[in-house]
Symmetry: C2
DNA sequence: GTCTATATTCCGATAGAC
DNA sequence: GTCTATCGGAATATAGAC
């Protein structure tokens, strides 16, 4: 994978999180990297290709991270997940799900499928984490683990949205309360 | 208030919820209403004026509705709020907070202030509802009412986002579980 | 792999007639 | 209050030289 390609993806990732997918342009990529917009098109012919590239990178990073946490107690794994969101909160970012889901109807079909794949992967991991954590007496919660994963992931996604509007003390309040709810 | 103005606001509201604020144009308003884009500019000189008009309308509707629920038991009030979100879910909409918060950095300052005002108003109402409901032994939850309101409102906002991506059974699962958590 | 140059389309917005 | 006409700019994208 070329270094230029990596730089483009990294900057696009940031722009999606800060301004939204429909609100940034090839020029916003090209100018800071000191290239021409045509050069970006060489690496990513269409904007959807760029979006898919960003999601693939994010999914790969997510898999690497969760693999590293595999042997930890489940509450540590959950705290690590929350830390990922916290760092984004501090950087003024929102998560890719929270940024791309609102624009979903405007996305090309193959990019829509990628967004779906990303959401499913994260929910699947969190569901397993919660399920195992309850089995190992580290979590307590009502209902099944899938539904609980939905509640927690929506808290985290939208906490970044509300932090953007109301200031990022919001994130700490939400993440601390949700941990307090579920930890034994 | 002119009828044309009302129609423009109503359509803009729908477009913001379905495609996002930055993804619709004056043409998307003008064509279905069989006017010219210049006519829309007469009613709303800039796009931010239109956005602010939409939010004001939504805030007014919210106040009217919550006033109507005032005398009901708190769990009925909360269920009414959830119903508002449910109807949007069924219509393929997301809520204004979930649509405008991701685009927040790209909005004009006066529109940013309106978005803030809307979020604060909804959170304020929900906080009071939860506080009173706990006092009247209708709700049970840990922590203070403000934090609980943040958890619930983020569940509702992002449930619409996830419903868009993964299908709208998501909304029912989230709303049922959150009620089950809090009702006595 | 990156460039220049350009095509095409669309955007928000304004001027001025009616 | 709505129209026609148009401006200035920005967007995505492509052709073809280097």
């Amino acid at each position: 994978m070329s270094e230029t390609r990596e730089k483009i993806i990294s900057l696009a990732d940031k722009l999606i999180r800060v301004n939204g997918f429909n609100a940034f342009s090839y020029k916003d990529i090209a100018t800071p990297l000191e290239m021409k917009n045509a050069a970006v098109h060489y690496h990513f012919p269409g904007k959807a290709d760029l979006g898919i590239g960003v999601i693939n990178e994010d999914l790969q990073r997510f898999t690497q991270q969760t693999n590293k946490w595999q042997k930890l107690p489940e509450e540590e794994q959950l705290k690590h997940l929350i830390d990922v969101f916290r760092k984004h909160s501090q950087a003024g970012n929102i998560c890719l799900m929270g940024s791309l889901a609102p624009d979903y109807n405007t996305l090309a079909p193959d990019m829509q499928r990628k967004v779906q794949e990303m959401c499913r992967a994260i929910l699947h991991w969190l569901t397993n984490c919660l399920e195992n954590g309850r089995k190992n007496k580290r979590f307590k919660f009502k209902g099944n683990a899938e539904n609980r994963a939905l509640l927690i992931i929506t808290n985290l996604q939208a906490s970044l949205l509300m932090s953007r509007v109301l200031g990022n003390t919001i994130f700490s309040r939400i993440s601390e309360q949700l941990l307090d709810d579920i930890l034994i």
